[in-house]
């Protein structure tokens, strides 16, 4: 049996043959303002003990496959951060919606 035939999660993509034919992009990526803000937010939440990087990863892995591949690296982060903060009751759904509408 090939490794990829095992019932793995979609983010657990090591050894999955569809990625073997894609060259690895080793170019340095330019960070946009959004990326920096998300990174800073994650660091503050970690320093204040609100969420760990492990919770961040768990949240990223929970993004459904189609959306996961459509989102950028830091979009996945902010999606996970939002889900985690909502789940923990740090922010409320109405509060988040209102803030997004103002943005």
């Amino acid at each position: 049996m090939k490794p990829e035939d095992q019932p793995h999660a979609h983010h657990d993509m090591g050894g999955v043959s569809k990625y073997l034919c894609e060259p690895v992009d080793t170019e340095p990526h330019t960070l946009c303002e959004f990326d920096r803000e998300v990174d800073a937010l994650r660091q503050i939440l970690g320093m204040k003990g609100v969420m760990t990087v492990d919770e961040l990863r768990r949240g990223i892995e929970a993004i459904p496959e189609a959306e996961y591949h459509a989102l950028s690296y830091y979009q996945r982060w902010v999606r996970s951060i939002a889900a985690t903060l909502l789940r923990k009751g740090v922010i409320g759904e109405a509060e988040l919606r209102a803030a997004l509408e103002k943005a």
Binding site: P3, Q6, H8, D12, G15, T52, E55, R57
Partner: protein, 95 residues
């Protein structure tokens, strides 16, 4: 806590698939489940990320560099090539 594993100890990765039983966060790649390798180095003890990911109390677990014969895992490479992976003691079985 299990007895520390010394470099050279043969180990087998548990053939377990917790992702099929519900939401989990695991650091053991799917392609190593049930595969045999050799402990190369002890990396220290760290809170279990499988618990940290769910904000649960996380006991310290030993983390190891475990080497796997690349040809056996990937079916490619040259003899002696090794895949080196960080694995927690909770995933390792000894003979």
């Amino acid at each position: 806590m299990n007895a520390p594993l010394t470099p050279g100890t043969p180990v087998r990765v548990r053939d377990d698939w917790p992702e099929t039983r519900g939401p989990v966060h695991i650091r053991t790649p799917h392609y190593l489940r049930g595969r045999s390798g050799t402990v190369r180095r002890s990396l220290g003890r760290f809170p279990n990320p499988e618990d940290l990911a769910f904000a649960r109390p996380a006991p310290l677990l030993a983390l190891y560099h475990v080497g796997f014969d690349q040809q056996a895992i990937w079916g490619e490479g040259t003899a002696g090539d090794e895949i080196l992976v960080e694995l927690y003691e909770s995933w390792l079985e000894t003979a």
